[in-house]
Symmetry: C2
Subunit: 181 residues, 2 copies
């Protein structure tokens, strides 16, 4: 699976069950969410705008993805939102490249992150701002079960880990047909 196939498989509606482990307070927190992932073409206005903001020239193999969420915490608090990320593969190796966030994590200074698609078909996303470092690893246990684990460091210290099991609601997207077909 290459990065393009991975992102295509991400598209769709998911039911997410998330647990975070907070080291400082030795406790965990749970949440549930509906997440809709849409792939955006490189010429999409939001993708273009983000690339301009980071002063990075997207290449034809860049991808955008929009994440829409509808969260419910254990205390029944609601949180609805969306964000866009852009992946700009390195010209010489599309298995890795830049990761551009629409909004910086934690509100700090925006720094382009990076992604890497491992040989074991796990996608690692690394994001940094002034004070926050976040590393997220995603993979598919099956086309309909996505796993996501993140670690966060604040000012160099690990503060939380989080685990999300995501189950597809509805059918997976059709496999991309060969353009030569």
């Amino acid at each position: 699976m290459n990065i393009e196939e991975f992102l295509q498989l991400c598209a769709g509606k998911w039911f997410a069950h998330r647990t975070s482990h907070d080291f400082a307070n030795n406790k965990s927190e749970e949440g549930k969410s509906e997440i809709i992932v849409e792939n955006l073409p490189v010429e999409h206005p939001e993708v273009v705008k983000i690339c301009q903001h980071y002063q990075i020239q997207p290449n034809p193999i860049s991808f955008g993805a929009k994440f829409n969420w509808n969260d419910t915490t254990k205390l029944n608090q609601k949180n609805v939102g969306s964000t866009v990320v852009v992946l700009v593969p390195d010209a010489d190796n599309p298995h890795q490249g830049k990761l551009l966030h629409q909004f910086p994590p934690g509100g700090g200074k925006q720094i382009a992150g990076r992604y890497e698609m491992g040989s074991d078909e796990a996608l690692t996303l690394i994001t940094e701002s002034d004070t926050i470092y976040s590393e997220e690893r995603l993979w598919f246990a099956s086309p309909n079960l996505r796993m996501r684990v993140s670690v966060t460091k604040v000012n160099g210290d690990f503060t939380t880990t989080a685990f999300t099991s995501e189950i597809r609601m509805g059918v997976p997207p059709a496999a991309k047909t060969s353009q030569a077909a």
Copy 2:
């Protein structure tokens, strides 16, 4: 990091925080544990016994590891136990090989599992019995923070996922010195 270095880094005492997501019942369960991991040499009686049981000849680059746990569930139930696993690298590629369990998961028929060390330094362990398929992925966020995620299928259906954050209690083991030194 190769498989040997990975296992050496696993050795030690860990505080584990575990959460499982149960799909059938749409709920999660939490537990905490102290885990002690000891590496066992290939000539250790327990390693020899397991290899004999599976009728697999260990090679000089095989490894054994003993896991001792002391669990506390959220309901304060205690569970103390230990098990041994043996990794027998493939002769032509030590990044993958056989995974032998002392006891079969779920009490079913014992089938040799397999392991694979990914280019992203994550170790994947796959274990099967008659009815249960389990896939676990482990990696180090740092030498003192290990992450572990598993998925379990029973009779072909995903039933649970589990996430464990493990923090080292005490100092990491000293790096192995070269035998030639």
